[in-house]
Symmetry: C2
Subunit: 205 residues, 2 copies
Amino acid sequence: MTALPNRDRRAERREDTRREILDAAWAVARQDGLENVTLRAVAERVGMRAPSLYSHFESKNAIYDAMFGQAWSEYLDQIEDLDASLPAAPRKALLFMLQTFVDFCTADLPRFQLMNLRVVTGFAPSPEAYAPSLRVMELFRRRAAALGAPNDEDVDLLAAAVGGLVDAQWSNDPGGTRYIRLLPRAIDALADDLGLPGPKLRRKR
Amino acid sequence: MTALPNRDRRAERREDTRREILDAAWAVARQDGLENVTLRAVAERVGMRAPSLYSHFESKNAIYDAMFGQAWSEYLDQIEDLDASLPAAPRKALLFMLQTFVDFCTADLPRFQLMNLRVVTGFAPSPEAYAPSLRVMELFRRRAAALGAPNDEDVDLLAAAVGGLVDAQWSNDPGGTRYIRLLPRAIDALADDLGLPGPKLRRKR
DNA sequence: GTCTATACACCGATAGAC
DNA sequence: GTCTATCGGTGTATAGAC
């Protein structure tokens, strides 16, 4: 009976290659647009021929799928250990949380398109890739409940409104702040409606 | 000196053909998805070969452009003569206006994607096609001002939030009402923030 | 297992005959 | 104005070298 190595070096290398391919895909997406990602362009960036990618991903949509999961996981990592640094005031805490999402989404257009819009037709995230986005939503619900907004509908409305602000920002004023600067006002309005304690984030006009 | 006919029959026929092509493009978009529209599929539907479309549109993006303008014009027509039938209560009037937009956007996914999202990369609407969407926004601002919301920022926030609701509806619960049913609550919250007179659309929890 | 070479069917677009 | 023929590109599939 031979001893098994305690690390599977082959699997590690495989995982490295997969990550390298995904990095290349992100780079191409940022340069040429999310749906202008081509297997040939990705392959060239990692020093391969296009068909070789099929040794690591079973299709182009599988690459999109992995990118989708990667993006949400990255955001999840960023907010997971944030409980300690949340402000005490409920509205400020809400703003802080949502602002991290807005910042994350406005920093990278193809990432936002992949995470929040259904830009790539024929692509629907697999349950596995969808999981981290559900965890984000769950975490958000838990924190909102702790702040005094226990209702799922409230969180849905807030999430949809924030997504709408980011989308409008990218669509109508890319690089500017015309829409996303309205986030504090949106939170105040909703918080008032929910009966969340003050103080208000913005002065009333 | 020969008399000119008072109608340019040739131009009329040309316009008819253009409209026929656009109708076919919408049909393909609804069947196969907005970005799976191919010139060959559109041409087949109108009984042509693909290259013949170039006699009527200078590129595929020009077809998208015309569709974009068509969609917004259609919505503009629908709401232009609505002043008379608006409810008297400000919040009800606001809800009525926004509900027409939500209904219009939830009725047809490719149309919504073309109007509100930037799904087709490399496509940006021409100034000419963009005009009717600006007229819709202008009309909306005018009516909101008449209802007591004269500030551009308020209208921006409301528009972005409504767009977010529709997008979340299509992305996470297509065919359902989970998000769009929150419209009255969203309006109440914003209206309270703006100091718009009641009565409220929804009972407070 | 990993990669290359090659092929296929499709895409948007153009040239030129009629 | 519509056609055929064709171009360079695409995603995808498979055979086979190593």
